[in-house]
């Protein structure tokens, strides 16, 4: 099964080279989709291997897939597939001259993310995360407008300074491991509990590393790049950044936490992560109440969910399975929503919520999936975000962090109300002058509301869907059922959380 460790790195890179040189022309714009599919398949193979009791390694232990890495790789592939496949209709309108480099950058981005989760070395993971800043920089600035240039500049400066701080932390952790005789950056070695690591250096290094990766994860107060970058990037890129990049940054924080917990106890990072998480929830709540732009609305919702995941990470092992499930649920839902937001932006020509009215009557092909995905996002059951949030809250009360969880719950309710109001404003109601009423589209929900979502597997894009529907249906269906599958999903999550608990 070891080959599945290099396929998610090699296949996207090869496809990127083909996209750049024009060799992928027979594939059309399918290069990034093939890359995502390769990552997803490798992830599933590794999951199968891990559940079979193996731990595939490669390159002298440099690449290693334990349960957590295999799960994260699957998340990267699944979210990548939804974003790139769902974004097909969008990217076809991109300027032809830049189409090749656009596809190539997305493939390289996926390879870098795969490397970040598969590397059994903090330094290598750091280099991979920094590489994602480099690849997404041009994707954020893809539209070449004044505002996208501003967003890209802020993103690169803040992102690289953030990961530079993380590098300083990693250097200190490396220095702390000199006491073991052979300095190392391997996760596997560092998270053993019997190592004589220098506590002062681990404390400083852990704090700096978590601070740096929290910048990349969009946690407040280092979140200011996120709404700008997410609102200016092309929709599929926003989906990838929100669903994959933030989750991988959080994955790095979880791994660092394992190391520091073993040396200086869990209290130190618990305070840091609780403060960061609650602050993120507060910032999201404050700025969602009066939000006017629907892409920025989704960006602030990402800050909200990352904040909630950080609270879960602060709680510790009891909440970790919920946090890991959260990453998948949030990634798939947010990728779906960003893809839809790109289509709405394209057909309506405006990112302002006030200008997009009565979508359900005018464009049901977009409004119905949008409504379902928003319901999943604000935390309605049966979608998995609901179960993750409940899991984190219950675990919080169980471990004596009732105050933190209580504040989080209040902020979640405010955000729920704000998001519901904005969604209703966009979708429900009668069209103002009703010139754009689409009789063909309006007939669809009358037949069977569930049918519009589940049945259409026509390959040609429907006039009212403005792009492929299947990836969105698959994503929403997955988030709806994944929480109910005890075997193998539950087992996998438990084993992945056990990796972070220090036990293997």
């Amino acid at each position: 099964m070891n080959f599945a460790l290099w396929t998610p790195l090699a296949v996207p890179v090869v496809l990127a080279v083909l996209s750049l040189t024009g060799g992928a022309r027979p594939l059309g714009r399918l290069g990034p989709i093939a890359s995502s599919a390769a990552v997803l398949l490798s992830g599933l193979l590794l999951v199968a291997a891990v559940l079979g009791g193996q731990v595939p390694t490669l390159g002298g232990g440099l690449l290693r897939a334990d349960a957590l890495s295999a799960y994260m790789l699957t998340v990267v592939g699944a979210v990548g597939l939804v974003s790139t496949w769902g974004g097909l209709g969008h990217t076809e309108k991109a300027p032809g001259r830049f189409a090749g480099s656009y596809d190539a950058l997305i493939s390289v981005f996926l390879a870098a993310m795969s490397l970040a989760v598969l590397a059994d070395n903090i330094g290598l993971m750091w280099a991979a995360v920094e590489a994602t800043t480099i690849t997404t920089a041009f994707l954020v600035g893809h539209h070449r407008t004044r505002s996208s240039l501003e967003a890209a500049w802020k993103y690169v400066i803040l992102g690289s300074v953030g990961v530079a701080i993380a590098l300083l932390g990693i250097v200190l952790i490396y220095a702390a491991s000199r006491g073991t005789g052979e300095p190392t950056l391997s996760w596997l070695v560092l998270s053993r509990t019997d190592l004589p690591l220098d506590p002062a250096l681990i404390r400083a290094g852990g704090a700096l590393a978590v601070l740096g990766f929290a910048t990349k994860a969009g946690l407040a107060p280092m979140h200011s790049w996120l709404p700008d970058a997410h609102s200016q990037a092309p929709a599929p890129v926003s989906g990838l950044m929100s669903g994959v990049l933030l989750a991988v940054a959080l994955y790095a924080i979880l791994r660092i936490q394992t190391i520091t917990d073993a040396v200086i106890g869990p209290d130190f990072l618990r305070v840091m992560l609780s403060v960061g998480g609650l602050l993120s929830l507060f910032v999201a709540a404050a700025l969602l109440i009066r939000q006017r732009d629907f892409k920025r609305m989704l960006a602030y919702s990402s800050i909200e969910h990352m904040g909630m995941m950080a609270v879960g990470a602060a709680i510790g092992p009891a909440a970790l399975p919920a946090v890991l499930l959260y990453m998948l649920g949030h990634g798939l839902t947010k990728a779906t929503l960003f893809v839809l937001s790109g289509r709405i932006l394209e057909v309506e020509g405006t990112p302002r919520i006030d200008d997009v009215r009565a979508l359900l009557v005018r464009r049901p092909g977009l409004a119905v999936p949008w409504l379902i995905a928003m319901a999943a996002l604000v935390g309605f059951p049966p979608f998995s975000i609901f179960f993750s949030e409940v899991g984190i809250i219950v675990a919080g009360f169980g471990t004596g962090m009732g105050v933190v969880v209580g504040i989080a719950l209040v902020l979640l309710l405010v955000i729920f109300a704000a998001l519901t109001r904005l969604t209703v404003a966009m979708t429900i109601g009668a069209p103002a002058a009703a010139p754009g009423t689409d009789p063909a589209g309006a007939a669809l929900p009358g037949t069977d509301p569930a049918g519009t979502v589940a049945v259409p597997v026509r390959a040609t894009p429907d006039r009212s869907a403005h792009g492929p529907r299947l990836p969105l249906i698959l994503a929403l269906a997955t988030t709806a059922v994944v929480a109910f599958i005890a075997e193998p999903v539950g087992t996998l999550l438990a084993r992945a959380a056990a990796v972070l608990g220090g036990a293997q």
Binding site: N121, G123, L124, W126, A127, E130, A131, T133, I134, A137, F138, G141, R144, R146, S147, L149, E150, A151, A152, W153, K154, V156, I157, S160, V161, A164, L167, L168, V171, L172, Y174, A175, R178, P183, L185, D198, A200, L201, A204, P227, D228, S231, Q232, L287, Q291, R296
Partner: protein, 218 residues
């Protein structure tokens, strides 16, 4: 013989690193800052070479050549190329030179206080010099937040990065070679990207003043 010279060489190299960082805060001309950055790259390479000679490791010597090529030559060359294209090459920073140098002094004292608590168990010569690296990180931050030109912000980022490299070499003899390669490549690419964006900024706005990037907000 080398053992007696070693502490002096370490002191000389780290002194040069701190001096060039402080001078960058003082000077307002972009081209002068870039020359100082190049000197700093050479000093860092010399520091790495000294550590490599002391430890007798060939790998560290290779890293020092790499540092010389990337930080001493390639990055300053890219920056100078970009700067010559701009019409305004001097800076109107938010701090005057006196306040800037005073802040540098305070930051250096701060880093000595922090480092003495962090590395209390380590009595080696190189660990004694490690606060310099921390001071460079803080000075890089200072440059990032007080400068208004795109080029100056880039220099601040590079001083920050040099500081991290200094801490790495002084506390643990540097990270493994393949990592050093990856880190150098990443930094080089970030600078190239920011260079491209600065070029686009000049095409769109006519200058590279960061203060005009204020359109996106809530």
């Amino acid at each position: 013989m080398f053992d007696t010279v070693f502490p002096q060489l370490i002191g000389l190299c780290t002194g040069a690193l701190l001096l060039t960082s402080a001078l960058m805060v003082w000077r307002h001309s972009l081209l002068a800052s870039i020359r100082l950055l190049s000197v700093q790259g050479f000093a860092l390479a010399a520091l790495v070479a000294v550590i490599g000679l002391e430890e007798g490791e060939a790998e560290v010597i290779i890293v020092s050549v790499l540092v010389l090529l990337v930080k001493g030559m390639a990055l300053p060359w890219v920056l100078a190329h970009e700067t010559r294209a701009t019409t305004r090459t001097d800076e109107a920073p938010r701090l005057n030179p006196t306040a800037g140098l005073l802040t540098v002094a305070l930051l250096t004292i701060l880093s000595y206080v922090v480092a003495s608590r962090l590395l209390s168990g380590d009595t080696s010569i190189s660990a004694h010099a490690a606060p310099i690296g921390l001071a460079m990180v803080l000075i890089g931050f200072l440059l990032l937040v007080t400068r208004r030109q795109a080029g100056s912000q880039l220099i601040g980022f590079l001083v920050l990065d040099n500081g991290i490299a200094t801490v790495a070499f002084l506390t643990s003899g540097g990270v493994p070679l393949f990592l050093e390669l990856g880190i150098s490549l990443d930094v080089l690419l970030v600078v190239v990207i920011l260079y491209v964006f600065a070029g686009r900024m000049r095409n769109k706005f006519g200058n590279t003043d960061i203060d005009q990037l204020r359109k996106l907000h809530d």
